[in-house]
């Protein structure tokens, strides 16, 4: 199994006619992902064509979901309109909305998050690379790729990866695959201060997934989401977990690329988070080159086989 998405999951793409959305819809189709619909208001009735596939485009998410059975949306809509795009998924009753868009105003996300309280739709992101559940084909093809991650670096297997950062996720996945260790699902939760799904939410899902045998938890400076996840792991998770925190050298008060990556106080520095990881039994990667090896150490200590 996997978490959140499987190779059978049907996807719709909001913003499929924009350059960014189109490119990644094509790459997902090439990966073998079931992209079944596009949504661009005003372009309903047209088709998105790629290598013989003809994907219908709809004016609204609700119509796209109803006509095609899509249960998940990936959002490539520009920042000023992205909050609205997320709420449209909620209104249509989708299971999952994955917001790739970078640069959504904090106030918009504060309102979206409040509106989504008690709704069945889960949000991953925004400002995230998306989710990949690798497939069994060549270069892990045949899996479900939602978002902008490179599909070919993955390999089907038993390690769950959760991270705020895109390229650091790829780094971890590449290290694992190079060591012939596959992944169950890789989730990028995004670098914004207000996001939908937290580290802890994903950790709980990995913990409950019988096919996930080990977890890599990648965090960064700012906020306390990693600390919250680590404390839960200490109490509830028996699986081996490796952790890495980026930003040990970041100066206080400066936003390091990600809107959320800013050191506010003593509690959200890299050093403070690493200390909590250690205290909670998480094997800490000393450098980003050490992430896969750190998980191997954690697995060995618990007698768990990863591959």
């Amino acid at each position: 199994m996997s978490i959140l998405i499987t190779p059978e999951t049907k996807i719709l793409v909001q913003g499929i006619t924009g350059a960014f959305g189109a490119k990644h819809a094509q790459l997902s189709l090439d990966y073998g992902t079931k992209v079944v619909a596009g949504v661009t208001p005003g372009k309903g009735g047209q088709f998105f064509e790629h290598k013989g596939a003809k994907i219908p485009i709809f004016d609204t998410v609700a119509e796209a979901a109803k006509k095609t059975g899509a249960t998940v949306s990936v959002i490539f809509v520009p920042p000023p309109f992205a909050a609205d795009a997320i709420l449209e998924c909620v209104d249509a009753g989708l299971e999952l909305a994955v917001a790739i868009t970078e640069g959504i105003p904090v106030r918009d996300m504060v309102r979206v998050k409040r509106t989504m309280l008690g709704c069945k739709t889960r949000l991953v992101g925004p400002n995230c690379p998306g989710i990949v559940t690798p497939g069994t084909g060549k270069d892990s093809n045949g899996g479900c790729r939602i978002g902008i991650a490179p599909g070919y670096i993955h390999k089907k297997g038993h390690v769950g990866v959760v991270s705020r950062s895109g390229t650091l996720t790829y780094e971890a996945v590449f290290q694992l695959t190079s060591k012939n260790i596959g992944q169950s699902t890789c989730v990028g939760i995004g670098g914004d201060p207000v996001n939908g799904t937290s580290h802890l939410d994903v950790i709980k899902l990995f913990n409950a997934d019988p096919e996930t045998h080990g977890i890599i938890l990648i965090g960064e400076i700012g906020g306390n989401a990693e600390v919250e996840a680590a404390r839960w792991i200490k109490e509830n998770c028996k699986k081996p977990v490796a952790g890495f925190i980026a930003g040990a050298t970041a100066p206080a008060g400066r936003r390091m690329g990600h809107a959320g990556a800013i050191v506010g106080g003593a509690e959200d520095t890299a050093a403070a988070k690493i200390a909590v990881f250690k205290e909670c039994g998480i094997e800490v990667a000393a450098t980003p080159s050490d992430m896969a090896d750190a998980l191997l150490r954690a697995a060995k200590a618990k007698g768990v086989t990863l591959s």
């Binding site: 590449f174 960064e220 690329g257």
Partner: protein, 394 residues
């Protein structure tokens, strides 16, 4: 984005948050006209720079204090002349300090008591939080650490907005009564409206004061805005002061690069914020010191790589360059071509270590190898980081 105190106070007034009367001067010739708008009596002279700790700061010529109380206008004029054009060093500016280009004169208020008030995002609840304390005029981090019970917080439900009972709760916890209570409630409500409507990232008033006549005033003002929301606030963008920003950072933002100058000597060029941060970390881990944070983004073009190289080489402290690219979707060969072109255009006298991985990496490595450039290849991040640290130390 940050703004100056005088700009923040103009916004405060617009939203009905009372502040002491004030006026600015950008040259000595403007001092008299500015001071003439204030009533006779004591005046505060305040250096306008985007950094805290101004009052306890020291100018590079030895003059002490970037904020001064002056009993008379004549003395205010004299002190202002010493500050304007001078460079102020505070705990937040770094040793280089900031040049004072604007002086803000305000009527000195009679202070009965000082308080603290701030509004910002609470990440744990994803809601705005109003933080208030009776311990004003001091470092709030110290209050939070030593006497957390003196810090009062209310979390605002964004669906309803700030409720009256929450305002009352704050007002009573701060111990206000009578006219003061009424004035404080109005100030808190108006400040929240400003925070919300301008997409502020943080609004901080330290100190908030009461006067013997029952007034409640924002004596200082520190306001920053959410960069992501600036597109809908042209009136806020107009307040940006480029003098307060690093010229290299301004140039980088024009090229859509995310760049932050640091004080080390190994320049970094990386794709992705997380990888860029951890590239700095790994340099430090192996005993080096990063000169900057530089994220070229997920879909960098050749032009962006060229721009990035120019910015990096504009820093005289740089003794070596570390390019770390994980080309997921990005074509490694595009990056390689960008590096070759950049080096041909700007020249290269410093050691350069390149670590390329990912999409079309073989072609990228071939491009670099056949370029004839004196660069060193690294296989993993750790390998490459150790190589650049060694080369710079040599």
């Amino acid at each position: 984005m940050n703004i100056h105190e005088y700009q923040a106070k103009t916004l405060f007034e617009k939203f009905g948050v009372p502040v002491p009367k004030g006026a600015t001067a950008k040259s000595a010739a403007e001092f008299d006209a500015a001071l003439a708008t204030l009533p006779e009596g004591p005046v505060m002279v305040k250096s306008q720079i985007h950094a805290g700790g101004r009052g306890k700061g020291t100018f590079t010529d030895g003059f002490k204090g970037g904020v001064k109380f002056c009993p008379t206008k004549a003395e205010a004029k004299e002190k202002a002349a010493k500050m304007l054009g001078n460079t102020l060093v505070t705990i937040q500016t770094g040793p280089a300090g900031r040049k004072v280009q604007t002086i803000y004169f305000t009527q000195a208020s009679d202070i009965k008591k000082e308080y603290y008030l701030a509004i910002l995002l609470d990440r744990a609840t994803s809601r705005p939080v109003i933080v208030a304390s009776t311990e004003g005029g001091v470092e709030i981090e110290k209050v939070a650490h030593d006497t957390p019970e003196k810090l009062h917080k209310v979390f605002v439900d964004p669906a309803y907005g700030l409720a009256d009972f929450q305002v009352r709760e704050l007002v009573f916890k701060l111990g206000f009564t009578g006219a003061e209570a009424k004035n404080a409630a109005k100030l808190i409500r108006n400040l929240y409206t400003m925070y919300w409507e301008t997409d502020a990232a943080m609004v901080e008033v330290n100190p908030l004061i009461t006067t013997p006549t029952g007034e409640v005033l924002a004596l200082d003002a520190k306001v920053s805005f959410d960069d992501n929301a600036l597109f809908r606030h042209p009136e806020i963008v107009a307040l940006r002061d480029l003098n307060e920003e690093d010229p290299k950072e301004i140039e980088a933002s024009k090229a859509n690069l995310s760049y932050i100058a640091l004080d080390g000597n190994i320049a970094c060029l990386v794709n992705g914020a997380g990888l860029a941060m951890s590239t700095m970390d790994i340099i430090k881990h192996f005993g080096g010191s990063p000169a900057n944070f530089l994220d070229v983004g997920g879909g960098a073009s050749k032009d962006q790589v060229v721009a990035a190289f120019k910015i990096i080489l504009g820093d005289p402290n740089v003794k070596g360059i570390f390019v770390n690219i994980f080309g997921g979707i990005m074509d490694c060969n595009v990056i390689a071509l960008g590096i070759v072109e950049a080096v041909k255009e700007v020249g290269l006298k410093l050691p350069l270590v390149v670590r390329l991985e990912g999409n079309n990496v073989a072609a990228g490595k071939a491009t670099l190898a056949s370029s004839g450039l004196a660069l060193v290849s690294g296989d993993t991040m750790a390998d490459a980081a150790q190589k650049i640290v060694k080369l710079v130390a040599a």
